[in-house]
Amino acid sequence: MEIQEITEKIEMILVEEFEIDAEKLQPTALLKQDVGIDSLDFVDIVVAIEREFGFKPTAQELKQVKTLGELYTFIQERA
């Protein structure tokens, strides 16, 4: 899957489901500090990734992911 397609899907989820301002969604944005994702939001992110990309990330994998850009790359490698 192309990174552009992954970016669009994730941005759509964050804007529509998490009601996050699209302007915050820069690849360098930190998920917790800049985007405002808390630990409970990660449950929704895992569910959304499983639904949209067909795999379920583990805690260890997601712990390595700090920025949005890293999330896109991680999904591309696993999907």
């Binding site: 489901e17 630990s39 409970l40 990660f42 449950v43 895992v46 583990t58 805690a59 712990k63």
Partner: protein, 293 residues
Amino acid sequence: MRWNGQTAGTTWMQQTLVVLFKYVDIRIIYAIMSIWLIWYIIMRPSATKGIYRFHRFRRQRTVLQSCIDTYRTYYNFGEAVMDRFAIYAGYQFKMDFPNKAEVQHYFEGKDSFYLLFSHLGNSEMAGYCLNTPNKVMNILMYMGDTETVIQNRTNALARNNLRVIPMQGEMMNHIFAITEALDNGEIVAMAIDRIVHSKPIACPFMGENALFPIGPFRICTTLKHPVLFLSVIKSRWNTYTVHIRLLDHTTIGTKVEQTNSLAQTVVSVLEEMTHQYPYQWFNMFDFWNKENE
């Protein structure tokens, strides 16, 4: 002021209690505690004011009645704490379970479910006394207690196919432990009245809006499984009664609406039970204090 997540007493005191219960009748310990409590309530007004305010303002009791009710609640709470150490020492309590037949299939089936509980009564007893041989029950627990309580609790729970999911700090570990447990067809038990590492949600409770943690309700609405509400009420000195109720869990509306709806449902059941057993309301956190918002 938020609850600090600790059982009172030093490690040495708690270890002594466990040993004491092996040799002394539990009723003698209750009697000693009933006298010591008078001193405790008089000397620790800041610690007991949450319960006093609960009776005085939420139950509209007079000042004198509220003082008596505070003692009564603390006596019951003292029994609950002592009973926990009695369990650690190997003591067995009788357990009544009036609607067991209605909910038994959840415990015996292969599917996951949530078991929500509060600090009304002594829910921890369910963990020690409900035997779930075919199913692991995971209890989400804040690990602020002393090493003695954590170790004894973990040992006692392990005897009954129970596992503690530690909630420490803002880490995601417990969130993933919950999802893994649900994937494995296990039970996930969570307290709905401890605001620790969770954003609050306001729900009408005992006549006024009170703050509850949003976390358990968010998890239940995101990862959909049946939701049961548990209360374990002490009915005699050596007997507990288990109340379990299946809750309506709407899947209509946005995620926020579903979360709010579940929170309101759970809190209304809690309120009904609290009216029935006001002297077993053991949550010392002052939910209605505006300073907590």
